[in-house]
Symmetry: C2
Subunit: 359 residues, 2 copies
């Protein structure tokens, strides 16, 4: 039994739920949010659910100057019984604490946060979309709030959870996208912050993303920062390749973010006795496999998109057309399986989901 | 003649100025601040000086999630005539726009911002400390304000200037400090954001800084992210070595921040016909120079500390004691010259300072 009592201030001015087909990612927010404060003296304190509203910070708050922050992303669904389902929330909270460790932010009780999140979700249940492909995106995040221009870890923080009903992350849905391998810009390097889900890793990629978009590509593929040779991630997702029947994904190192979807895919493949291996894979090797006719499928994997097939991959002067720009069978099967488990349409063999009823 | 009209809302509730010896860096702020907004439709608009007060942002504001931000740091002094003096402010504003470019933030008119800054300084003139070693630290910064969880450049921004009366950045003053060369953690790598003054570059270094502090060192020295071999920066400063009479500083690359103090030191040394060279320098080379008795001085250079001598440098199992842990003659001369020019005590041969009287 954990101490999870929190104050709830109910929003008296509820917003209309979004209607119609157009539900862009992360722009509509629910009526309430969870907030909690940290000071060195008190630790984490004052957990509360309050109306979704602007927050007020000193202009010298460290988040504005030195970027000390972490975030997470997960989704809630309604199953066929009308109950709320979460997908491996403990994995996200564990990762949040790993990110906290890297960014010198104090750890947060994972058990408590899951409990707080459940209370928030129960209050906001009507906001969870019921339609195919939609879900309630959950964004926990921590920001440094101390008003101090010294370059040092903040002595105070704010932890929040906000909720956003979302459609598919990629408006084009499960259709394969075109990817540009980035040769100049670097997402992360060993010894850097790449394994942490922290703001600086994301804004640093905008320039490369703009360059790729200018050339008609949907996303960039990131290479390692040392050799500019080994594949690391695609956009803000992990990446998988099916080569001659074997599934290959870059092995975790000191710069790749450990995705929950990545982990789930590996576990599914192993369960199905499909040959899957985590190892270094270079662009040279990938191109060779392509030229040998062995690059059968490629896809990104992440919470927002779940699985996102790669139809075209440009690297230097080469353009690889993968599986005739069609979504591969394994890619589609993984997408259907994971979203099926997430939404309760398929049996949860792995005990990955958590149903949220009354506490 | 530039259009620099702005609204001024005077603070009716002025704070007492700090008294006594204890003036920690960046914790006390003046009565007013400058703010300006950006939207894609309007560009930069609504320049105003308002009372220093908390700012209000949506919890989904992009600064909290993806860290899109830049900042600058410069100082104002009072000269012997009692006029405000700025040191090369145009260099800081040029760098801010280079940082903006890297971080996909729209550029800001340097001329206008300097004009706004002058108006703010004239209003806050009483806050500029008169005492030796003290100054008014100026912190311009830009943050992404759009409420949107999409991983993409913000469509709206806030630009602010806040002011903080400061003592010396290092409480121990000009005394040499002990530095640990960081072997594991990386500040920046080619293709990353190291050349931009953006938050993520700073919080990413806290872990290394904590490690160095645990071992009794004041700061870390950063090596390049690719080879972990070449010296890049020290703490959040550029670094210089005097080896056998020659001054060496790491050449600018795609990961070192181009410091205004660094640039000024190089120009001063050239003016004095002292042999100065910008080139790659490895830790092996530095250790060899030390063992040969040729490593005569070493110091960091940045706006906050101006010049900070290195008395001890630890790398792997080696500890180098530099100049018997005393501030070297050249280091001291550079410190005195630059602070002399900044405060108006020495003639401004290079036309580096700008005196701010009535506009």
């Amino acid at each position: 039994m954990i101490e999870a009592k929190l104050d709830i201030v109910e929003n008296q001015n509820k917003k209309p739920k979004p209607e119609g087909d157009d539900l862009p990612f992360g722009q509509v927010f629910t009526d309430h949010m969870f907030t909690m404060e940290y000071t060195r003296e008190k630790g984490w304190f004052q957990p509360q659910i309050v109306p979704y509203e602007p927050i007020t910070l000193d202009p010298a708050a460290m988040i504005f100057h030195y970027g000390q922050s972490v975030f997470e992303g997960l989704k809630a669904y309604l199953n066929s019984e009308g109950d709320i389902q979460l997908f491996r929330p403990e994995e996200n909270l564990k990762r949040m604490n790993r990110s906290n460790g890297r960014m010198s932010i104090p750890p947060i009780s994972e058990e408590l946060v899951i409990n707080y999140l459940k209370q928030l979700l129960l209050l906001e249940k009507e906001w969870i979309p019921n339609e195919e492909g939609r879900s309630l995106y959950i964004r926990p995040f921590v920001i440094a709030t101390e008003a101090n221009l010294a370059v040092a870890p903040s002595q105070s923080y704010k932890f929040m959870i906000i909720l956003s009903p979302v459609g598919s992350y990629y408006p084009e849905g499960i259709h394969p996208v075109s990817i540009q391998v980035e040769e100049h810009f670097t997402r992360a390097v060993r010894g850097g912050t790449g394994t942490a889900k922290t703001g600086g890793n994301y804004c640093g990629g905008y320039k490369a993303q703009e360059k790729a978009a200018d050339r008609g590509h949907a996303q960039v593929m990131w290479l390692d920062g040392v050799h500019k040779k080994y594949i690391e991630e695609v956009g803000s997702m992990n990446v998988f390749f099916k080569i001659n029947g074997q599934i290959i994904t870059p092995e975790l190192n000191d710069s790749i973010l450990e995705g929950v979807t990545r982990k789930s895919i590996i576990e599914l493949l192993k369960h199905w006795n499909i040959d899957v291996i985590e190892r270094k894979i270079s662009m040279e090797e990938l191109l060779q496999a392509y030229e040998d006719g062995q690059l059968e499928e490629a896809f990104g994997a992440g919470t927002a998109a779940v699985v996102s097939p790669i139809g075209e991959l440009s690297w230097q002067d080469e353009t690889m057309i993968i599986n005739g720009r069609q979504t591969g069978d394994l890619t589609k099967f993984l997408y259907n399986t994971i979203t099926g488990i997430q939404t309760g349409k398929l049996p949860d063999t792995f005990n990955w989901t958590e149903t949220v009823k009354e506490l």
